[in-house]
């Protein structure tokens, strides 16, 4: 049999081009964040100065604190909601409207972000909610839910209901069964989902920009307004840190899922 038919020439080159396109802008930013000169064309030597400067910038400090607390709280709540929802949808008997509920959970993914942003603005203003960290948090919880739900539900599907059955046959209460049986097995999915939700919240610019109030600028908003004024290596430094955070979290989430898969396949 000729196995070579599978191979199409040029696909490797295109894949490398694809990765080059995806990564080169990020790498360029990272490299210039260490350039001691402000210049783009000249390399003045390696430095950490821009990072120190960025850390000492009060606007960046408060924005980073805002972003981290929102991302943390939003991902925590969204993950809790997603765990509950996956218990309801994937445990127990099938029920009418199951598909509709699953669709509802992924609704935030299907709506263009700008529409979510203006809809949230219009709504918060109409119900006289003061715009600020709280409104950003509420909006973020909503669109974090599907991102937390995906890995959690995937994991849940992998856990056989027999475990529950066995526990309950041993007179475990529903709660004890969830607490001692399902939850520990679900943990990798939960951690992975929460990491993704955290990243999604940390990265959002469009929605936060629309529903932010006084003193509630997030990191992407601050970067946006700084870039408008002038491209400084300080921005490159902050951006690099943010890129690194995302990469670490996604990497962590991926490793959890992979370990999980391998375990199951063994």
């Amino acid at each position: 049999m000729n196995m070579d038919i599978k191979h199409y020439p040029g696909t490797r080159a295109i894949t490398i081009f694809c990765l080059l396109v995806l990564y080169s802008p990020m790498l360029v930013v990272a490299v210039y964040s260490f350039n001691s000169l402000r210049s783009i064309s000249n390399w003045g030597g390696f430095t950490f100065d821009w990072y120190i400067k960025a850390f000492n910038n009060p606007a960046i400090q408060s924005a980073a604190l805002n972003s981290l607390s929102i991302a943390f709280t939003a991902s925590l709540i969204a993950t809790a909601i997603a765990v509950c929802a996956s218990l309801a949808l994937l445990r127990g008997k099938k029920f009418k409207g199951q598909g509709a509920f699953a669709g509802l959970l992924s609704l935030p993914l299907m709506i263009p972000e700008i529409i979510t942003a203006v809809a949230s603005l219009v709504f918060f203003v109409a119900i006289h909610l003061t715009l600020g960290l709280g409104t950003i948090l509420l909006a973020h919880i909503v669109f974090c839910i599907p991102f937390a739900y995906l890995p959690i539900s995937a994991r849940m599907k992998g856990i056989s209901a027999d475990y529950d059955q066995a526990a309950m046959d041993l007179y475990a209460s529903r709660w004890a069964c969830f607490h001692y049986v399902t939850l520990p097995m679900l943990m990798p999915g939960i951690a992975s989902g929460m990491m993704l939700a955290f990243i999604v919240s940390l990265d959002d610019f469009i929605v936060a920009n629309m529903v932010a109030g006084p003193g509630a600028s997030t990191l992407p908003m601050t970067i946006y307004s700084m870039v408008r004024i002038g491209f400084t290596p300080e921005i490159n430094a902050v951006s690099t840190l943010l890129l690194l955070t995302s990469t670490l979290f996604v990497g962590g989430s991926w490793l959890l899922n992979r370990g999980d898969k391998q375990q199951r396949s063994e």
Binding site: T73, G213, R228, F231
Partner: protein, 350 residues
């Protein structure tokens, strides 16, 4: 089992932390000041000085045009204490009930305000506002790219070949339309539909030669060379020229806009007293000079000269040459004109 206990402790700790973070942002309301300002318009050092002097935590958010400020406030954003509207915008905000009457003229440093800035049309006798900085709006040309006469609005609306596709316009409905009206020789704040139609068509044609329409990035675009012409405010022009000497501020013969920005306290400001302290603080000549040294515009108070940098001596941007037209203040237009302007503006942007 051990794992779940660990998890339990973790979640407990984390939720306590989350609650704490949320609370902390709500509780700290005492000793704060929320400033809503143009971007790149306030040196951090000055905010730090105020924060230290009065033990107040200052936060600043930014906007890029008077209209954005108004839109944000009208959409129900609350919690800002101090904003920096331009002249005509003060008039609109007073009328819309967005400002707190703080009897600004009773503040202790008010005596330092320049005399001709007290009885202004937008706030007669200064009840709501104190002067921040004032200046002019025109444009700036990179003379290394184009060597001809730059003191004409042709540069923006009928540019020479060298400048085509290298022009940045302000993202500001009034600045752009007022310049276009002057170029056509018409009155500003104009409700004449025939003339506005001409302006509308002229802008649409001219925009083919424009590179971009944005305000707060103008200096960066000029300095980096992305744009060879950009609308600028004179202080921005001065800062740009210091980074790139070939840039020159133009005084177009058809006329240019004068403006005066002001500090105001917003209605129901959560930190009214701090806001007043801040207004008073900014009228201190030394502080006003620090602001001018950073932003490059003329201070609204007397006595700043001893503190000013060398760069302001004879700077073309702040001292119009002989024969340059007198810059014109443009009062707020009728709602009918505003509506027509908005239409021209949307037409232009689409």
């Amino acid at each position: 089992m051990k794992k779940t206990q660990g998890f339990k402790r973790l979640t407990q700790g984390l939720s306590a932390l989350a609650g704490g973070l949320l609370l902390s942002s709500a509780v700290q309301a005492e000793g704060e000041l929320h400033l809503y300002n143009w971007s790149d318009y306030m040196p951090q050092a000055l905010l730090d000085k105020f924060a230290e002097q009065y033990d107040v935590k200052v936060t600043q958010d930014t906007y890029d045009s008077n209209e954005t400020l108004l839109a944000k406030l009208k959409s129900g954003v609350k919690g800002y204490d101090v904003a920096v509207p331009g002249d005509y915008m003060v008039a609109i905000m007073v009328k819309e009930g967005l400002l707190e009457n703080i009897h600004a003229n009773k503040l202790s440093n008010f005596s330092k305000v320049k005399k001709d800035l007290i009885n202004v049309y937008f706030d007669e006798g200064r009840e709501y506002s104190v002067p921040y900085q004032f200046g002019t709006t025109a444009f700036m040309v990179d003379t290394a790219v184009y060597g001809g006469d730059i003191n004409t609005l042709d540069i923006l609306f009928n540019p020479p070949a060298e400048l085509k596709g290298k022009i940045n316009m302000f993202r500001d409905v009034n600045d752009v339309i007022n310049a276009a009206l002057r170029y056509k020789g018409y009155e500003t704040c104009n409700a004449n539909r025939k003339e506005l139609k001409e302006v509308n068509d002229m802008l649409k044609t001219a925009s083919e030669n424009w590179l971009s329409i944005q305000s707060d990035g103008a200096r960066e675009m000029l300095v980096s060379g992305d744009a060879a012409v950009s609308m600028v405010w004179n202080g921005m022009a001065l800062r740009a020229r210091q980074e790139k000497a070939s840039l020159q501020y133009a005084y177009p013969k058809e006329g240019l806009t004068a403006w005066a920005d002001n500090l105001v306290v917003l209605k129901d400001a959560p930190n009214l007293e701090n806001a007043k302290l801040f207004l008073n603080f900014m009228m201190e000549p030394e502080n006003a000079a620090t602001l001018t040294n950073f932003a490059g515009y003329t201070a609204g108070v007397e006595g700043t000269d001893p503190y000013l940098d060398e760069k302001f001596k004879g700077a073309l941007e702040l001292n119009p040459p002989a024969g340059a037209p007198v810059a014109e203040f443009v009062p707020p237009c009728d709602p009918e004109v505003v509506r027509l302007y908005d239409r021209i503006w949307t037409n232009l942007l689409k």
